[in-house]
Each structure stands twice: as C-alpha cells, then as structure tokens.
C-alpha cells in the first residue's frame, strides 16, 4: 500500500460512517414523525394503524415515550388473546407473535402477553391434526409435496397450515418470553416448530415460504424467510445438530446460502434483514451489489414502515437481533 492511499481510505471510511449515521438519524426521525395519534403506525403515512408496522417501529425505537405504543397494542388485542392483522378483523393472526415479543418489554402488559402466548400455544394448524394425518395415511403418497406432517408450526391465519415465517416468529416469541409466562406446552410446541423448520428447508439451504419441493421440483430459497428461520433457530442449532446431525446440517448450509446470496441482494428490506441475521451469527456481511446507504429515508418509507424500521435496526451498530427493549422492573419501559 502506498503511503498516500492511507488518508484516502481513512477519509472514505469516515465519510461512510457519517453517511450511515445520517441515514439512521433520518430514518429514526421519519419513523417518529409518522406515528399516528393512537400510538400505532400504519404501513404508509395517513393510513390506519396496524399491529405489524407498529411492532417493527417499536423495535426500531431507541428512546422516547413507549406508553402510547403499549396502549395501542393493548387496545388492539382481541378477547381471545390474539391480535388481528388489521383493524376491523375479528380473528387473530401471525402478528400475535410480534405483539407478544414487543409487549414483553412492558411489565404492565404481562396479562396481555400471557393471553397472547396462550393463544399461540393453543393455535394448531389444521393440516397436521391427528385425524387429518390418519386419513392422509390411508391415501397413496402425494407426489405433489413431500413434508413430514408430524411436525407442527404456525400458519399466517388460524386453523390453516404451517408456514416457515409465522413458525419462525412464534418460535422466537416463545424462546424469548419470560419462562413464568409460558403455557405448559410451550417447549413442546417450540421443539415441533424447530423440527418443522428443518424439514421445510430447501435442499440447497435456505427457506422459502415452506415448499422445499413441489411436483418433484426443488423450490428456490428466498432471503427473508431464510433470515427469519435462521434467527428463530438461534439457540436450538446445537441441540438439533447433536440430535440429528447426519440428517440435518441445516443451519450451516443455510448460513452459507445466505452469505452467497447476500452479494446479489438488490432490495433494502432483504439487505437490512440479511445483514442483521449474519451479524447475529457473528458473520461479517460480505460485499454486496447494493449498500444500505443507497436509499434515502423517504424512499424506504415509501416501501413501508416495516422496511424503514428494519433499516433503522440494521444501521444501529449496537443492536443485535432480537431487538427487544430491555425489560424494566419499574413499570415504564423506555
């Protein structure tokens, strides 16, 4: 290296840090300014508050008044303990996992979280019920899909089928919940969910929505489901490998897939979440086609509050997934 190159490199690095910090501040301030009066967030400015964008925005916040956010989430909960995907809906959905995760930071929300966790643990997908499995066993083996239906995860909506992403979110929620709040069957549900995630992994590593093979053709993995699954498997990786090592090299293979794929990512959402996932596994993200700083805060907001929030989290050097606020014992988590 020539002596003259050093200052340029340092200058570039310093400039990059400044840009990162500026973008993070822009994203955070845009996120704060887009909070609705009811304490929640919508996917886009001017729309009704919904649970999912509110949860992502809450996770991205580093400081401020969380009381309004807790209030919105508490108020949105349905009588059966679940949360609906949108106002006006009367059945719960996968966002129950997100709401429980976020409200775990608020001691005043304990009963809300407990009700949510109970709902999650009682919500079994319809495709893998014992009766259905019995009838399926009488039929010729399906050539359409090949899945082990003894494993059970979660669906996007109740009483449907297990899919990778809702299973990953529920699994993370159960893993990170306070033990005294967990229903009795929580650890069994999580074990089945982890087994399902390994079962649904694509042959070359990574995950898509949950169809690793259809009509005899291998499915392609996608970035976001792969990231959520990997984040959900943190902590269970060692146990699974010890138990089933020869059959499921799952985690390492999928991490390798994500590292390889990272270079080709062209969207802000996938780039931000993939970056957090790799960092969570202590892997330095490899050089990529796009950089987090390629987008402005406004452009990210146009893609949705969730994307803006994921970017805030990815740009925060001190944050690692799961970005849950520290639990407070005094009643007002900040």
């Amino acid at each position: 290296m020539h002596a003259l190159e050093m200052p340029n490199q340092l200058e570039r690095a310093s400039h990059s840090i400044q840009r990162t910090s500026q973008l993070r501040n822009d994203c955070l301030s845009l996120l704060k300014s887009s909070q609705n009066a009811d304490g929640g967030w919508s996917f886009h400015n001017g729309e009704q508050s919904r649970v999912e964008p509110t949860c992502w925005a809450a996770r991205a916040q580093e400081s401020g008044d969380f009381a309004q956010i807790w209030h919105f989430l508490q108020f949105s909960q349905l009588a059966d303990g679940s949360w609906p995907a949108s106002g006006g809906m009367t059945t719960g959905s996968w966002v129950t996992s997100l709401a429980c995760s976020v409200l775990q930071s608020d001691p005043k929300s304990e009963t809300h979280v407990a009700a949510g966790l109970k709902w999650l643990c009682e919500d079994f997908p319809r495709d893998s019920g014992p009766l259905r499995r019995f009838f399926e066993s009488l039929r010729p083996k399906s050539k359409i899909v090949s899945q082990n239906t003894t494993y059970r995860g979660w669906g996007w909506t109740p009483r449907t089928a297990s899919w990778v992403e809702p299973t990953a979110f529920a699994s993370m929620t159960l893993r990170d919940a306070a033990p005294q709040q967990l229903p009795a069957n929580a650890s069994q549900r999580r074990e089945l969910a982890v087994a399902l995630l390994y079962d649904r992994m694509c042959p070359g590593g990574g995950w898509n929505c949950g169809n690793p093979r259809v009509y005899g053709v291998d499915g392609d993995a996608l970035v976001l489901p792969t990231c959520w699954a990997l984040l959900a498997l943190v902590g269970s990786e060692r146990a699974a490998q010890e138990k089933d090592a020869s059959e499921k090299p799952g985690g390492p293979l999928s991490l390798a897939w994500l590292q390889k794929e990272f270079a080709k990512i062209e969207s802000a959402a996938s780039l931000a979440v993939a970056r957090m996932t790799l960092e969570n596994y202590a892997i330095e993200p490899p050089p990529a086609k796009r950089d987090l700083q390629d987008w402005t805060a406004q452009e990210l907001a146009e893609q949705g509050t969730h994307v803006l929030a994921w970017m805030c989290m990815a740009l925060n050097p001190s944050r690692r997934w799961p970005a849950v606020l520290p639990r407070s014992t005094k009643g007002d988590a900040q």
């Binding site: 886009h44 949108s86 996007w156 909506t157 899919w163 893609q303 949705g304």
Partner: protein
C-alpha cells in the same frame, strides 16, 4: 368505500362480450402502437379516470416466462395516459415473497416505466377495507381488500398466459388472487387455498370486478405452472372488456376447453361469458393462433 362491488348480472341477460387477439412475435416490437390501436377500438370510458393495472408479478424470472412482461405493462400504462386517464397506478401483492421491491428489481419494471414512486402500490401492505362476499362461493363471508384497488375508476387485470398446477390455468381471473393482501392473509394467501382455490377466484372477482383484461401471451408457460413450468410462445396479446370471456378465449388459444376449467365454468353463470357464441371476436381468429399447451396429467380433461 368499495365502489367496485356492483350488482351481479346473470350471463343470460348480458350483452355479448368483446375479445381481441393480436399477434405479437416479440417484446421488442412497437407495443405502444399496437396496444394503443387495440384499446382505441374498445372506446373505453377512461378519460380523466384513475386506472389500476394489476400485472402478475410472481418472482425472480430470468427467462421472462413467469411474470407479465414489463414492456407490456409500460406500454399499457402509456396507452391509458394517451387515452386521457388522469392517473395510471400499477400494483400487485406477490403471493410467495413479501419483498415486493426485490421482485420489482428482478423484473426490471422501472427500466421500462421510469420511476414510479407512489404510482406503484404494494397491495400486500395497502390499507384495507372489509368487503362482504355476496357470491358466497366459499365459506368466507368477508375479505379485507386493498382500498386502492376498491377505490379506482377502472381496474385492468394483466396476467401472463400460464397453466396452473392447482387451478388448471391462471389468467385474468386467477390473477386477481394478487389483490388479497399478504399482510392480512400471509405469503402464500393460504386461507384462500383452504376455502378452495376455484371458489375463491369467484368470490374475489365478484367483489373487486376487473373492468378489462389484457393477457400477455407473447411468451407463456405450460406444464407445471405457474412458477416451474416450461416456456411456450403463442405470440399473442389478448384484450377484452369481460375477463371471463378473455380467459375462455385464452383457453381456446391454449388448446384447452374453458368449460372444463372449474372456476371458469362457474364464472360463466354470473361474471361473464364462456360460450364462444356470446363472444364477439376481434382481431385474429382463435384458430390462426392456437398453440397447444401441455398440462399436468391431473388436468388432461381440459385438453380439447
């Protein structure tokens, strides 16, 4: 407020539908001129109106065989603006991947349309409104659908010409699955599968009622569609003011019997015309462009 849930007209009291077939060998042809010329013949009431184009955007597609081609989308958008539309929105809610921007990047839509900004609507995360399903083809009593789609003046379904491993074919009616928001129903929109794909297609189309259909059949997909099938090139674009009639005609172009496609047969009783005698054929005749599509063995009954 849902402006699209209009009264259903039984097929026997409907006037004949109009469907136009145009031969187009390649996407590099002057699509703007061809689509403009074709749409003018329909004399559509689009002046000063807001139009919504609903293409089929599924995912990464290097062969250009899975998604509605961006050249067709861009030329259609330009055409509606030329015809006097005040605004032309484009949007979809991809079913398998929630990263809609990644799909947009992969299909290079903006290279053809230019920067879209708020003229692109990710239907998976749009604000939603409750719509009561009056057709009750499924057990679902309601769906929450995107307000943007429900509020536009003129809705155009723009599918790719493909076979489908669950429904037989996926054309302008099945394409409307994409308006069902993933943020409410997931990726995939599994609640519709449990309610029955064929019947869900009817409920969704009765609730959101596309006004027009344009099918990208320049390059289509046969066999194990809609994602893992084989490219097939009939070299056509289809246009029509009745999505049922357009889909029925598309089936005939593919060498399939529309009356045997479960959801099309049902749609023919309440949403539009399936019978060839009720369809006024414009442009090329079906025979001159017929390109026989292979189907999975489960759908061999569809073969003409």
């Amino acid at each position: 407020m849902n402006q699209r849930n209009r009264e259903l007209i039984p097929s026997f009291s409907r006037p004949p539908s109009r469907v136009m077939i145009r031969k187009v060998a390649r996407y590099e042809e002057d699509l703007l001129a061809l689509i403009y010329e074709s749409l003018r013949e329909f004399q559509l009431p689009v002046k000063d109106k807001t139009i919504f184009l609903k293409p089929n955007l599924v995912g990464l597609d290097p062969q250009g065989v899975m998604n509605t081609h961006p050249a067709v989308i861009a030329a259609t958008r330009e055409t509606f603006l030329k015809l006097g539309a005040s605004r032309v929105l484009i949007g979809d809610g991809p079913a398998m991947d929630r990263d809609t921007q990644a799909i947009l990047e992969s299909v290079r839509l903006r290279e053809f349309t230019g920067k879209l900004g708020k003229d692109f609507c990710d239907l998976n995360i749009d604000d939603v409104e409750r719509v009561e399903l009056e057709t009750r083809a499924t057990r679902l009593k309601e769906l929450f659908l995107p307000k943007t789609v429900l509020g536009v003046d003129f809705l155009v379904s723009m599918p790719k010409l493909k076979t489908h491993h669950w429904a037989g074919v996926t054309l302008s009616l099945k394409n409307m699955f994409g308006i069902v928001p993933g943020s409410c129903y997931g990726w995939p929109k599994n609640v519709l599968h449990w309610a029955g794909i064929d019947r869900s297609i009817l409920d969704i189309n009765a609730a959101a009622r596309p006004d027009f259909a344009i099918v990208d059949g320049i390059l289509g997909m046969e066999g194990n569609g809609p994602i893992q099938g084989t490219p097939k090139a009939p070299g056509v674009l289809l246009f029509g003011d009745d999505p049922v009639a357009v889909d029925a005609t598309a089936c005939r172009v593919m060498g399939l019997l529309p009356e045997k496609v479960d959801y099309l047969a049902r749609a023919g009783t309440m949403l539009g015309h399936v019978e060839a005698s009720k369809i006024q054929q414009l442009g090329e005749g079906v025979e001159s462009v017929r390109t026989r599509f292979a189907v999975l063995s489960e759908f061999s009954k569809l073969l003409a």
